[in-house]
Amino acid sequence: MNHWPFILGAYAFALLGTIGVTWSSWSAMRRAEAEAEAVRRER
């Protein structure tokens, strides 16, 4: 049996999942901090 399709599938799932959660966490943080800063300046 050729193992490489299983290896590439495992790496793709791991990397896409990791990149996805990193990106969503980073963009949520940037958005929330920008909103908080805008609210602070409004005072």
């Binding site: 193992h3 799932f13 791991a14 999942g17 990791t18 966490s25 958005r31 929330a32």
Partner: protein, 237 residues
């Protein structure tokens, strides 16, 4: 830990640490996975499928480590009422769920060429699946509690009770007959050859650093949203 009970003091440390953990983690992961795919030799029994270990083992470690973090933070929230503990526990839940899912999927993809099956209801795999459902339950409970304006105590208690599953996962390979192999790396040494061990160690450190960065990002987002909500409440009053 009480030093960082003040969010301003915590943010002063978290801001530079987020970037440092994120970039160094990403660099180590790239190095480790390139080494694991291109430089490490194939195993004499498992063949090339052993390379899946370089993503599977760090994911298993982080799935279990994530829930251990939730349990510690929950204890700090319930006993010492640390103001950031609940935020930290909730920040761990989503990346913890993701790495538990990665562990299960990559383990399944390793099992097919090695054992001849994607899934077996043995102790290790079943207890890891239970951990996945615990993460899903924790996230649902935490969201429901926040919507109701709760103080997070019920979620913290769930986090502590769920920690019972962590020793079950760890010792499942000793307690029950299982397809899953026993522990290969311990405090005193490793049964893995050094040519295969170095990408595994680098990968585990790299994913752990990135996990730390993700948790800090989610904590910073939660603190910023709490600041906005507090400001809106003051304006409405």
């Amino acid at each position: 830990m009480q030093i960082y009970a003040n969010p301003a003091r915590f943010l002063k440390l978290a801001r530079p640490l987020t970037a440092w953990l994120g970039w160094s983690g990403a660099a180590l992961i790239a190095l480790a996975l390139a080494g694991g795919l291109l430089l490490a030799p194939e195993d004499y029994l498992q063949g090339d499928s052993v390379r899946i270990m370089y993503v599977h083992v760090p994911a298993a470690w982080l799935g279990m480590g994530g829930w251990t973090g939730i349990a510690i933070a929950s204890l700090m929230q319930l006993v010492w009422r640390h103001p950031l503990a609940g935020i930290a526990a909730r920040a761990v839940a989503v990346p913890g769920l993701l790495f538990t899912a990665i562990c299960l999927v990559t383990g399944s993809l390793w099992g097919r060429p090695t054992w001849g099956t994607y899934w077996e209801w043995d102790g290790r795999m079943t207890s890891m699946l239970v951990l996945l459902f615990l993460y899903i339950g924790y996230i649902a409970l935490s969201d429901a509690d926040r919507e109701r304006g709760g103080d997070g105590r019920v979620t913290a208690i769930f986090g502590l009770i769920g920690a019972i599953n962590i020793p079950i996962i760890k010792y499942s390979v000793e307690w029950w007959n299982t397809l899953h192999q026993g522990q290969s790396i311990g405090v005193t040494g490793s049964s893995i050859d050094s040519s295969m061990l170095w990408p595994l160690l680098l990968s585990t450190i790299g994913f752990s650093l990135l996990f730390g960065a993700i948790v800090l990002m989610r904590m910073r987002a939660a603190l910023a949203l709490a600041k906005i909500e507090a400001r809106m409440r003051r304006m409405a009053a």
